[in-house]
Amino acid sequence: MSSARALFASTLVVSLALSQGPPSNGPAAADLRYHALRGAAVVVKPGQRIENATLVIKDGRVVSCSAGAAPPDGARVHDCTGLTIYPGLIEPFLAIDVPAPDADAPNVHWHPSVLSQRDPLAADGASKQDRELLRSLGFCAAAIAPIGGNFKGTGAVVLLDEPTTGHKAQVVRAESYHLCSLSMRFGSHPSSEMGAISLVRQVLADANWFASSEAVLTADRSASGQRPSANAALAMLSSRRTLPLMFDCDDELQILRAARIAAEFDRPMVAIGSGMEFRRAQAIALAKVPVIVPVHFPEAPDVATIGKQQRVSLRQLQTWEQAPTNLRRLLDEGVKVALTTARLQDKKDFRTNLADALAFDIDRDQALAALTTTPAEILGCAQDLGTLENGRIANLVVVDGDLFDPKARIDAVFVAGNRHEIEAKKAKGLDGTWTLTVQLDPKVEVALAIDNGAIKATIGDRNPKVTNAAVTNERVEFAITDEALGTGATWVRARTSTDASLTGTAHAATGTYAAAAVRSKPAGDEQKGGKSDKDAPEEPTETGEKKDDAADRPVIAPLATPLGGYGVLAQPPARDVVLQNATLWTSGEQGTIPLGALWVKAGRIAYAGPREGLPPDASKAETIDATGKHITPGVIDCHSHTGISRGVNEGGEAVTAEVRVQDVVDPDDVNWYRQLAGGVTAVNQLHGSANAIGGQSNTVKLRWGSSHPDAMWFHGSVPGIKFALGENPRGANGGGNGRYPSTRMGVEALIRDRFLVAQDYARRVASYEALPPRDRARTLPPRRDLELEAIAEILAGKRRVHCHSYRQDEIFMLCAMAKEFGFRIGTFQHVLEGYKVAEAIREQAIGASAFSDWWGYKFEVYDAIPDNGAILREVGVCVSFNSDSNEHARRLNTEAGKAVKYGGVPPAEALKFVTINPAIQLGIDAQVGSLERGKDADFAIWSDDPLSYAAVCESTWVDGAERFSLARDRELRATIKIDRERLLRKALAAGGKKGKTAKNDERDAYWAAEDLTASYCCRDCEGVR
């Protein structure tokens, strides 16, 4: 860190004083920035407006502003009568190219995406084009920041002035924020969003370590322990703790994810939004994250043909329709909002798009604040920017009318007192239609149409040839050839006498004659005043469009969560209800009860048993007759990849224990709803199997419609982690790309290595923590390593391994290793040759979680047998059947039925394969998995024997609330039909601009596809050739 830069950061220097510049080349011009703007209405700040004000600025700062005051002597007076002056707008995010530091430099971070030290002031700054463009929109200052990487560098607030000699960027604040993102790099690390989050988390932890090491070393240069090596990125992050992390977010869920990390490290945070925040406005408000909102709206989906209509989802249509409501919805929820021109394909659309957003009855003061005071506050420049109070930098926008009317002319902006004309008041040109009378005998009348220097003439029904036309604002000359004027050309010269008349002469072959012209205006044009004739013809269409817009504008009504056909407006309530006379498959000690009663109260099971035993208290509850129905505990899927945003594998490294699936729960995945329709109430979300030691798994409840993704987490579940053995971590079926390991021997060695290193790590951490406080102050702390921390948790029995495995030798290997390292494995997943080593699994693992009858897709599953589950159970292993597929997940009840078919497992025991057994494996059996008093009321109601294909799931409950029912599903289908119909018509009317659809949904769809095509993520792509 250069000392010059540190100075900027600490003193908020505004480098305006000329004395700082180089010696002038010749006589020096005086800096005469002393202006008085008189007669305008001045909006000093949102909510404070002074009519007929005199605004005085000097030396680049506001000196005074008061109504009717006389301009001070010496000030240059500008007559601004009829104009409105606003504080200059602030662009909080202007991306610029800044070269990355040399990868071989001694103080760079090892990861090429960690570039926190990158200084936007070290590069060219905002381009001239950007400066001009932003000024033309009323912006006077912008935070420039580098692009690329996860930690991209700092944001610097600069004035959008034109540089003078020696003053390139006029800096308001050299360091305003740390720009970050959760972006990924294909074919590299991080290759998934969860990988990116883990990287961000580790870097922030490293920054903390850097700071605490620094503190120890400051106190005692000879402190013992491992010293951090020089690292510019970490130094920047550790020394500038109060600067907000500015997360550039691709979608609304990323905002919530970034907010969680920022909170974890007690860092202030701001999000740069995608424009789709309205889909989760409430959760964003609760996270208390200020959002920098773009006014970029998706174009209407192309729905020109029925085929194309089929390819558009209701969610896409709704997103398209609702995008302009984004700002309004965020403001309604109380989110702190600043606006940005970022993400617009063409920044010139900013004012028009903003007007579309403001059309939803948004208070103009709120809008102005979002462009001035709020960004100033976010950027830490509120003392210098954002208002026209005395002492602020004299950034102002002078508007002929309302700033928020996109048609209103921006006259000029002042940047630190320097005036930049934007659009001068248009002189009344000669464009328009005229009637020219030439005093020949008889008089000749010529109709002239003057348009931007071109002249068309009409005499009677003739269009005579006009040449040599020369038109200025004051005069017109041309040659015209027409029989009425005589032979040859007649030269006409005329100049304005009044606004509406011209006088001059016509030199015809026969002599010179007086000529005069008057404007022939369409009726009513006069009233419009101020508008040039050129604008006039467009006006009726515009008003017409405006009216249509208003009619088409969506009403601000609550939106379903998630947006799309099956979302909910509010979470369903937990009910107090008794389900009578159904067959209860308890998966508990009571077995199967033919005529049972299930009493659900406050989200828990208050009674489950024979109907005769129902406690009298239950009589107050609502009663549902479930005669002929079957009720089972909610189905639990022990191997799922549903609802994991952007990448199921972090394949960028061989060991990714630091990666957490819980960071990327996608509550929008419609498969949650579909799985509820199959009786599923909880799943184990697993990392893919590309890594011998993969990421941490996450258990969720299917609380469909949760406003925050984390609300789906199953609290109290035992933490898990994915391991993988065999072909996939070897990269045997493609995707190997030279990464260790490439044999089962290497897989063993890699896991052993990590276990040993994690043991050593845990020992070092423990010995540091055991130090008495005095010694600790003189000892450098061990670096927190999130990967080793997770692996050490396995060895300490706090984290369960869920191990992708097929062949008996690899299963046996991990059992032996677990024994050696003294921990119990959670589950073997797939474990298709588990039947060959069932006794080893029984001894060393909590359970085995398999497919019912899947096989043949690759060589290591060639010996898979459908009796696997039954044999494992016979030997004493706790067995579950899982889906590993969005489709199979909906039919796990019949997958369990296959344990009856193959191997003769008794039906009630077979059902346990998808209820209590996976609950035991995931450590949630105290809460769910059986119908027993005190457990969570998570259950499903079936039309028939749940193990048979005749069974249809009729209703599914989570936490005592009904989340799916056939009746509700029918209603939703009807609503979807109506909504789609309406929106398709609307999109058709909008012209269905070709080829473009809601940007975010394109991306969503891309990622959905990515999950399917990437290898080793689920059974649907296992062994894909």
């Binding site: 799309g564 072909e727 005749a950």
Partner: protein, 467 residues
């Protein structure tokens, strides 16, 4: 006359003996094939599901030389010709069904999905009508007995890949050679109708899965290899396909008038389809695909069977008007669209039935999981399809659509004796297939997996009991 039980017991004993001699856990099917049966076989007092004239409770089935000779109601008396040596089997309480037919499969062409060397589905060129499935059908594939165990006794095997992958063959799942197993070698020409990648799954059905997976978008390369302008690529592929048929037609015309016309194997391969003797099996799912595909087959006067048919409901009138039958490739499928009813695929068969469309049900699951065929039909039944019709969709209707209705699909005199004896309805998961005959030869219902289960149960019998 009734002495069947002893026969059954004997048979089981023989099979058990064979098993002990067989090497364990091999990659190949080591079971003996069904032995020819010289005797008449008579299944008595059974619940006979004829699939064409209802269920005969207490009925009798007689077959000999591989052909059904009599299917009788309880009232009817069986008269065997004098001197006939017969095997009488008491099937009281048992059900008899025609063998189940997997109508769209890669069984026998793939041994291990991920091992390229064991996959014989996809010839190099995008157009390879000369390829015919029966040629590469491996009679000893371990997947065949696995499939058979659950009553699936016949499969129509489709080559895949490119827009003209080859010709499909109807194979019966027992025999020493693939010649023995061929029911109809040339069932029809497969056309994988060129289409855009599916909007939701982004998986074009006819995309070639080339190169290692894992790179984003890698699978989106269309058969024409052009992923930059997929619409243009699709158009090009369709033109190329039509050109091939035009050329073949021309070749046959020339050949008819000039015997010295040079050979053209591809044109020759399309002959039966061009003459209308065999259908084209057109793979199409999306509405636009189906409409354009049917319009093309109409323009070339090709007999058409639609394979896939996901959006069939959206073009019911077209299907009815052209009388196009549909092979539904899987009931256990997700809706293709986010807004789709969760049970779109589950309920489709019932809806097609209600609209009078001819269809049969396949699994859509390549090769290893054909044993689940009855459960696809069962799910269709749970979602509104009549159970009898659901059984027909995996027997009679499949046979008819595949062009083998004269030999298979129902228990009708004169058809092949390819049938099952079960303890219940095959749509029910716990139903066990107890015996089965293919072309009159009783087949071994064990498989590699049943034997591995036995082997490892022995292992645990040897271990001391758990603490």
């Amino acid at each position: 006359m009734n002495a069947p039980c002893t026969t059954v017991v004997t048979l089981v004993a023989i099979l058990a003996a064979t098993a002990t001699l067989a090497p364990r856990a091999s990659a190949q099917d080591l079971l003996p094939k069904g032995a020819p049966e010289a005797r008449a076989v008579v299944l008595q007092n059974a619940i006979v599901h004829t699939m064409d004239r209802g269920t005969l409770i207490g009925g009798t089935v007689w077959f000999q030389d591989g052909i059904l000779r009599a299917v009788l109601s309880p009232g009817e008396k069986l008269k065997l010709p004098d001197g006939t040596e017969a095997l009488w089997i008491d099937a009281t309480q048992k059900h008899i069904y025609p063998g189940l037919i997997a109508a769209h499969s890669q069984l026998g062409l793939i041994e291990v999905g991920a091992v390229r060397q064991t996959v014989d589905t996809d010839e190099l060129n995008d157009q390879s009508p000369e390829a015919i499935a029966r040629t590469a059908f491996n009679p000893d594939s371990a997947a065949i007995p696995v499939t058979r165990t659950n009553g699936v006794l016949v499969a129509c095997v489709f080559p895949i890949g490119g827009e003209l992958p080859g010709r499909a063959s109807v194979m019966q799942l027992d025999g020493w050679t693939n010649a023995d197993m061929t029911v109809l070698g040339e069932a029809g020409v497969v056309v994988d109708w060129p289409a855009l990648p599916d909007p939701i799954s982004r998986r074009g059905r006819n995309l070639r899965r080339q190169g290692p997976p894992g790179l984003p978008g890698a699978a989106l390369v269309t058969a024409a290899g052009d992923d930059r302008d997929p619409e243009a690529a699709v158009k090009k592929e369709r033109q190329r396909l039509d050109e091939t048929f035009a050329r073949a037609k021309n070749w046959h015309e020339q050949k008819a008038s000039d015997a010295n016309t040079p050979p053209d194997l591809q044109a020759q391969a399309l002959g039966a389809a061009l003459r209308g003797e065999r259908p084209v099996f057109v793979l199409a799912d999306d509405l636009e695909e189906i409409e354009s595909a049917l319009s093309w087959t109409q323009s070339r006067s090709l007999r058409t069977v639609l394979v896939g048919g996901r959006d069939a409901l959206l073009c019911i009138e077209l299907l009815r008007e052209r009388d196009v039958p549909v092979i539904l490739t899987g009931v256990h499928k997700l809706p293709a669209r986010d807004d789709g009813d969760y049970d779109t695929a589950f309920a489709l068969p019932a809806q097609l039935a209600a609209h009078g469309i001819r269809f049969c049900i396949a699994t859509g699951e390549e090769f290893a999981h054909e044993r689940n065929l009855p459960y696809h039909a069962a799910t269709a039944a749970a979602f509104g399809l009549d159970r009898e019709r659901a059984m027909a969709a995996i027997t009679r209707d499949a046979a008819d659509i595949l062009g083998v209705g004269d030999k298979l699909g129902t228990l009708t005199v004169g058809k092949q004796a390819t049938l099952l004896v079960t303890d219940g309805n095959p749509l029910d998961l716990t139903t066990k297939v107890e015996r089965a005959w293919i072309g009159g030869r009783e087949v071994d219902l064990r498989n590699k997996q049943t034997e591995l289960a036995k082997k490892y149960r022995q292992k645990y019998a040897q271990l001391p009991p758990a603490k």
